[in-house]
């Protein structure tokens, strides 16, 4: 068990180090459509496209830093938020963060 935790930590730090060290280049294209991603996956917990709290916190107007958001999306939080580090590239995650930062209350 301790061994596994260690491996996980090691892996986490590798992923994390990677995330911080290599911000995606500005001209790389994300492979995902973020609004669709919220409708299929994220919005199930981050209600109303991330605008209000549900099973997960409200993402609109988040006071968290980009690095924090990036790390949470990559590593998740066991039993609360799935880890998406093996699913999305850094470019994808940049696009997700841009979507979160641009969220506005729904009109009407």
């Amino acid at each position: 068990m301790a061994c596994l935790t260690f491996v996980l930590l090691l892996l986490a730090s590798v992923i994390l180090g990677h995330a911080v060290a290599q911000p995606a280049t500005a001209n790389a294209k994300p492979s995902i459509d973020v609004p669709q991603l919220f409708a299929t996956t994220c919005g199930w917990c981050h209600s109303d496209g991330g605008r209000v709290a549900g099973k997960g916190p409200q993402l609109m107007d988040s006071q968290r830093s980009d690095d924090f958001l990036r790390t949470r999306i990559k590593l998740g939080k066991e039993g609360a938020m799935p880890a998406f580090g093996s699913t999305f590239s850094d470019t994808d995650i940049d696009a997700i963060i841009r979507y979160i930062r641009a969220l506005k209350p729904e009109q009407g």
Binding site: L8, S47, G79, A83, S86
Partner: protein
């Protein structure tokens, strides 16, 4: 090891004097014992194959219940997403599971640990999963305890020692990202377990496994098992899949039939509008999602079925494993709740005999024809924001836990939930390979029904006609199972953490006690050496209960979500 021997020895000494029902002396747990359902035991998920969730014990009753108090507790540890399982009891030993499929065998009279088993799971996979790592219980049979895991295994443990008898990898969860959270069902040499499904591409298998060896005997795909059913998934949309049978159903020994409920198709919300037969995400009926199935236990062959919601466009699946079997006037009925808030009544071949709603806040259909089960006035959404909220909410008019049928009162006690969601249906690209987990197809938010507040209620109804005798309301929907007893009591473990006992006749509250954590799992009763116990798991957090803190505030905001405790009551 020597510790365990010490424990076993002291247990034998302690136990030898006080009760005779020590493991080892008893008859093996087999199909006939489970079918007969002795009141001292609780041998399968729903108590017995009749699916009643009922205890024939009456020591705890309206005149004694005031003396009900905690006999012992057990803390399983690492209760990520709380506790959701139903304890089983055979011959004085209680078996139950916590998160990560941790299994415990406890002395039913004292809570002393006889053995425990913590499987090593694929932690990297668990970290990627949404519906994880909770577990909803074990099955017993042939001297073994069977448990599923979220990384796709079914494990058999020796009932006496907890030693692994076999450990079978049933599905490639690393690829599919889903495994097993529901309890297995044991019957006549076969262990049956259904995969998670619904939100994932995959075909939602139900497995029949040889109890002696762990070898798969048969697999039933709940999504398009043959080319015939593929026709009910236009544009090859069976590839987006869904389905699954993540709660244990039940078994009828007389006809060797397994009754099982299936989950929804993916994406949950379709953008087809009224033309769902020809357009949208998955044109057609989408067999066999949101259906009840009758399978042959030995072969897994489909004998008959009823699709409760053809082309389910609302995530109101049929995965609830409750098949309440009732004989009335020489006719056999099977009562099955659907997540949409309707109760379906069938004959033993799953032919519709009646359908009635137990929830007020329903607008996904105008009604369901009680003679045929046909949906009348269904609401099929086009892409975009829906002007009127969808009722019930995605959390269900009926949730996955069980109600209780009491043969003494003839009443069916069942929780209904009144809540809705705003809905913005989004047209998405088909998800045909496991990727970023879920496939919902909409953005939504929990809201109250138009005529007032969110609430839940316990109804006492005639199970066949649906006639309501009384109702008890709760400010927040209770998420746990209900137990009724021959002692004329109905127990409701509520979401705030209070265990209530009501008169089974009138619904009058007779007793309550706080378990300190919200309930969202099982409750059952058993006896050791002539003494009746009530066992209930407490521990909140999970797919539905995580909506409670943002929706209701306290006491949910302050409630720990990754804790759990098994609380066992008896008379002072």
């Amino acid at each position: 090891m020597s510790n365990r021997q010490d424990l076993a020895l002291s247990l034998m000494l302690a136990v030898g004097a006080t009760f005779a029902a020590v493991p080892g002396h008893a008859q093996p747990v087999d199909t006939s014992r489970i079918a007969a359902g002795s009141p001292n035991d609780w041998l399968t998920y729903h108590g017995a194959y009749n699916g009643w969730n009922y205890s024939g014990l009456d020591q705890i009753n309206p005149s004694t219940v005031k003396d009900l108090s905690v006999a012992w507790i057990h803390v399983p540890g690492r209760s990520t997403r709380g506790l959701q399982s139903v304890p089983l009891v055979a011959d004085g030993v209680l078996y139950y599971t916590g998160s990560y499929s941790r299994v415990f065998a406890l002395n039913g009279a004292t809570g002393q640990v006889i053995w425990s088993y913590f499987p090593e799971l694929d932690e990297m996979l668990v970290a990627r999963q949404t519906h994880s790592p909770y577990n909803r219980g074990v099955a017993l049979g042939e001297g073994k305890v069977f448990v599923g895991t979220v990384d796709g295994r079914l494990i058999a443990l020796d009932m006496k020692t907890g030693k692994v008898a076999w450990d079978s990898k049933l599905q490639d969860s690393q690829k599919l990202t889903v495994g097993f959270t529901g309890a297995p069902l044991y019957a006549k040499g076969t262990v049956v377990i259904g995969s998670q499904g619904g939100e994932w591409p995959g075909r939602g298998p139900i497995y029949g496994v040889d109890a002696a060896t762990g070898k798969v005997k048969w697999t039933f795909l709940t999504v398009a098992p043959t080319d015939e059913e593929k026709k009910t998934w236009g544009n090859d949309s069976w590839r987006t899949g869904g389905g699954g049978g993540w709660m244990p159903g039940t078994y009828d020994p007389a006809s060797n039939t397994l009754y099982w409920g299936t989950a929804n198709p993916a994406p949950l919300y379709d953008w087809s509008g009224a033309d769902w037969k020809t357009t949208g995400a998955r044109p057609g009926d989408n067999l066999y999602t949101t259906s009840v199935l009758g399978l042959d236990l030995d072969t897994g062959k489909l004998k008959f079925y009823h699709q409760e919601l053809p082309h389910d466009a609302w995530d109101f699946d049929s995965a609830v494993g409750e098949f309440v079997t009732i004989d009335r006037d020489g006719q056999k009925y099977i009562v099955h709740p659907n997540k949409g808030g309707f109760i379906f009544v069938y004959d033993s071949n799953l032919k519709v005999k009646n359908v009635y709603p137990i929830v007020e806040a329903i607008n996904f259909v105008k009604s369901i024809n009680p003679q045929t089960g046909e949906l009348i006035g269904r609401r099929d959404f086009a892409a975009g924001k829906q002007a009127e909220p969808l009722c019930p909410a995605i959390d269900g008019g009926v949730s996955w836990n069980s109600g209780s049928y009491n043969p003494k009162t003839g009443m069916y006690y069942k929780i209904g939930n009144e809540w809705c969601i705003t809905l913005d249906v989004v047209k998405t690209t088909p998800v045909t390979e496991p990727a970023a987990q879920l496939n919902i197809g909409a953005n939504f938010k929990l809201v109250p029904p138009s005529e007032g507040q969110i609430y839940g209620h316990l109804d006492a109804r005639d199970p066949i006609t649906g006639a309501k005798k009384w109702e008890v309301r709760f400010p927040e929907p209770p998420m746990a199972s209900v137990l009724s007893t021959a002692g004329n009591l109905v127990f409701v473990p509520d979401s705030r953490g209070i265990l209530h006992a009501y008169s089974a006749d009138t619904g009058g509250e007779l007793w309550n006690h706080s378990d300190g954590l919200g309930h969202q799992g099982g409750i059952m009763s058993y006896a050791v050496n002539g003494k009746q116990y009530i066992a209930v798991v407490a521990g909140f957090g999970g797919m539905v209960s995580d909506d409670f803190a943002p929706t209701f505030g306290e006491p949910y905001k302050s409630m720990p979500r990754d804790d759990g405790v098994l609380v066992v009551y008896s008379l002072k």
